[in-house]
């Protein structure tokens, strides 16, 4: 699986500091096309910071990303989304007072072109585009299994459905890399199992996935490769089963190996 050719995303020596806190120290990693890559680590390890740097919400102090063969524009989330990286948020961030369908339709924004003039004149091109946006968004709701709730306001959906809606909205941007920040947080066992099926299906349909997750069972079962962060440093990387036995990882999680 290694080799430059198959890497979709390469992070090169990414560092980020908040005042006196070194949140990320020279993180280097590569995510291959078609894999599910897990990013794990104890609370405060820097996982979400890495996510925010990757998706343009923060600007890295040093280091750079190469995505799909081109450098990633730093500090502009909308350009990162246009480049093909879609994300979800740890604490769900939907457009609460829009319907489920409208939420997904917003996700189509970056792949559509209609402007004010088209909207006001209702040109044939705009109408065709709107129809396509509508159909595709509905199809995505079906894909994640919440089409029946398309006309409900996002904030009125159940927790699990909100998570799925967030994934559908992210998929609407046609990402090459889907970055999920703790998608299973707060889910019960059944919901987690369905989520796992959904993620496997997304991967099978050709989208690479970067997954931050606390649910170790989910990560180990799902991810092809895993990187472990601790205090802003990458302390291990590799196939899930190997990483699990790595003494440095055990120390990070349990605070030291028992003698």
């Amino acid at each position: 699986m290694s080799g430059r050719m198959s890497a979709l995303l390469e992070a090169k020596r990414i560092s980020k500091r908040f005042g006196g806190l070194e949140a990320l120290t020279e993180i280097t990693l590569a995510i291959n096309r078609g894999e599910i890559y897990g990013l794990i680590g104890p609370n405060g390890a820097g996982k979400t910071t890495f996510f925010n740097v990757l998706t343009g919400f923060y600007r890295a102090d040093r280091g750079e990303f190469a995505f799909d063969g081109a450098p990633l524009y730093a500090g502009a989330p909308h350009r990162v989304a246009a480049a093909g990286i879609a994300r979800t948020f740890q604490n769900i961030r939907l457009f609460g007072n829009m319907t489920a369908l409208e939420n997904v339709m917003v996700g189509r924004h970056v792949r559509t072109r209609s402007g004010v003039i088209g909207a006001v004149l209702r040109t044939a091109a705009t109408r065709a585009e709107e129809r396509a946006v509508h159909e595709r968004s509905y199809a995505l709701l079906e894909y994640v299994g919440i089409a029946a709730r398309r006309n409900d306001l996002a904030h009125s959906l159940s927790y699990g459905d909100q998570r799925r809606l967030e994934i559908a909205r992210a998929l609407a941007t046609e990402p090459k890399l889907l970055a999920l920040d703790e998608p299973a947080a707060g889910m019960n066992a059944t919901e987690t199992a369905t989520l796992r099926q959904l993620l496997e299906r997304i991967r099978a349909d050709g989208t690479t996935i970067l997954l931050i997750e606390h649910d170790v069972k989910l990560v180990m079962g799902l991810c092809d490769r895993v990187a472990v962060l601790d205090y802003g440093k990458k302390i291990a990387e590799g196939v899930a089963a190997e990483v699990q036995r790595d003494p440095a990882v055990i120390e990070a999680y349990l605070g030291g190996v028992l003698a």
């Binding site: 998706t55 343009g56 919400f57 989330p77 909308h78 989304a81 246009a82 879609a86 994300r87 948020f89 961030r93 939907l94 457009f95 609460g96 007072n97 829009m98 319907t99 409208e102 339709m105 917003v106 996700g107 189509r108 924004h109 970056v110 792949r111 559509t112 209609s114 402007g115 004010v116 088209g118 909207a119 006001v120 209702r122 705009t126 585009e129 709107e130 946006v133 306001l153 904030h155 009125s156 909205r169 609407a172 941007t173």
Partner: protein, 359 residues
């Protein structure tokens, strides 16, 4: 009141019924100024004209506040810019007399530029901070207009600009009275039709924008700006677009206002006017076009109606107990409190907003 929209949708499902309904509404709107003239007097036709100007203003502010969720307390500045753009280019002030057919689009363009200019520095601000800065901008524009008579006299300062050209269509000025087919067409009647046309146009533009890629982007920014950025929305451009579109409507309204009044001065564009327009949007139902129109009409007509309270008191009790202008403020305050208690989402909110407030 949400059921009005539903009933309407059910009734107009049949094409013929829909056409009949539109014709009926058109006839009613065409007859309105004459009926009002006959029943209440010409002063009320003038009030309707002003109400239509405020409908345009409120719909412009609705784009910024209702859709994009950017609290703008200086919106009247765009009304002022539109009015002065018209007045300076169609009055004896510089002895330039441009046709309004050219001036209205030009004024709209100029105000759109001002919208971008005043919007750009506020892009990173939100909520209270945005409100304070826009309030300041609104005042800056007014103070500029008040003082731009030295060293060169541009705006004529506090004296304002007089003798502004009326609207002229095919060499006929609308400030004359005509008799068409036996119907007396006073200036207030002619202007009514021009304003109605512009207001309807702005209503259609608002509705179409709301239900479009751009409208969804505005609402997404209102709901969660960070999520909107993550979805690939260029929030800077889309916000500036909201400021520009909102300003455009205000500019058109301002140009029409200048032509209608024939006189403008900085006094017509105070903070209180900004707040009044905001009240129209909030009272009617933020982000809901029919509600905003209702809010604008109500808040223009009600204060005028209260003028009659003084003479009524005299008729009934022989003396005036409460000064009508005091009563106006009293009732206004009372209405605000009642609104907050019973209809916090506005008199006629969109279904979605209504649910938002009740859940």
């Amino acid at each position: 009141m949400g059921s009005i929209t539903e009933t309407w949708a059910r009734l107009t499902r049949d094409r013929r019924v829909a056409w009949a309904a539109y014709v009926l509404i058109a006839v009613a709107l065409a007859a309105l100024p004459f009926a009002v003239d006959a029943a209440l007097g010409r002063a009320w036709v003038r009030i309707i004209d002003v109400a239509l100007l405020f409908v345009m203003l409120a719909l412009g502010l609705n784009i910024v506040v209702g859709y994009a969720g950017l609290l703008d307390l200086g919106y009247v500045a765009f009304f002022a810019v539109g009015a002065y753009a018209y007045a300076l280019l169609a009055s004896p002030q510089f002895d330039i007399h441009t046709s309004f057919l050219l001036l209205l689009p030009l004024g709209a363009l100029v105000t759109a530029m001002f919208g971008v200019l005043l919007g750009a520095p506020t892009l990173k601000l939100r909520g209270d901070y945005l409100a304070i800065v826009t309030l300041g901008f609104g005042e800056i524009i007014r103070i500029f207009l008040n003082n731009l008579n030295r060293p060169f006299n541009i705006t004529n300062g506090p004296q304002g600009i007089t003798l502004i050209d009326p609207l002229q269509i095919g060499g006929v000025a609308l400030n004359e009275t005509f008799i068409v087919l036996g119907i007396t067409l006073a200036p207030v009647h002619s202007y009514y039709f021009v304003f109605l046309l512009c207001a309807l146009l702005i209503i259609v533009v608002s509705l179409r924008l709301e239900d479009s890629r751009i409208g969804r982007a505005w609402i997404a920014i209102r709901e969660d700006e960070a999520a909107a950025r993550a979805m690939g929305i260029n929030t800077r451009n889309i916000k500036l677009l909201a400021f520009a579109m909102g300003a455009t409507f205000g500019g058109v309204s301002g140009g029409l206002f200048a032509a209608f009044q024939g006189f403008i001065s900085p006094e017509s564009f105070t903070l209180l006017d900004s707040i009044m327009i905001l009240c129209m949007v909030v009272l009617g139902g933020m982000g809901h076009v029919p509600g905003v129109v209702l809010g604008a009409v109500l808040l223009t007509a009600l204060p005028e109606a209260l003028r009659y309270v003084g003479p009524l008191q005299k008729d009934w009790f022989g003396q005036v107990f409460v000064d009508p202008s005091d009563l106006r403020m009293l009732l206004f305050g009372l209405a605000l409190v009642l609104m907050m208690l019973f209809r916090p989402a506005g008199l006629w909110p969109s279904k979605i907003r209504k649910r938002e407030w009740t859940t």
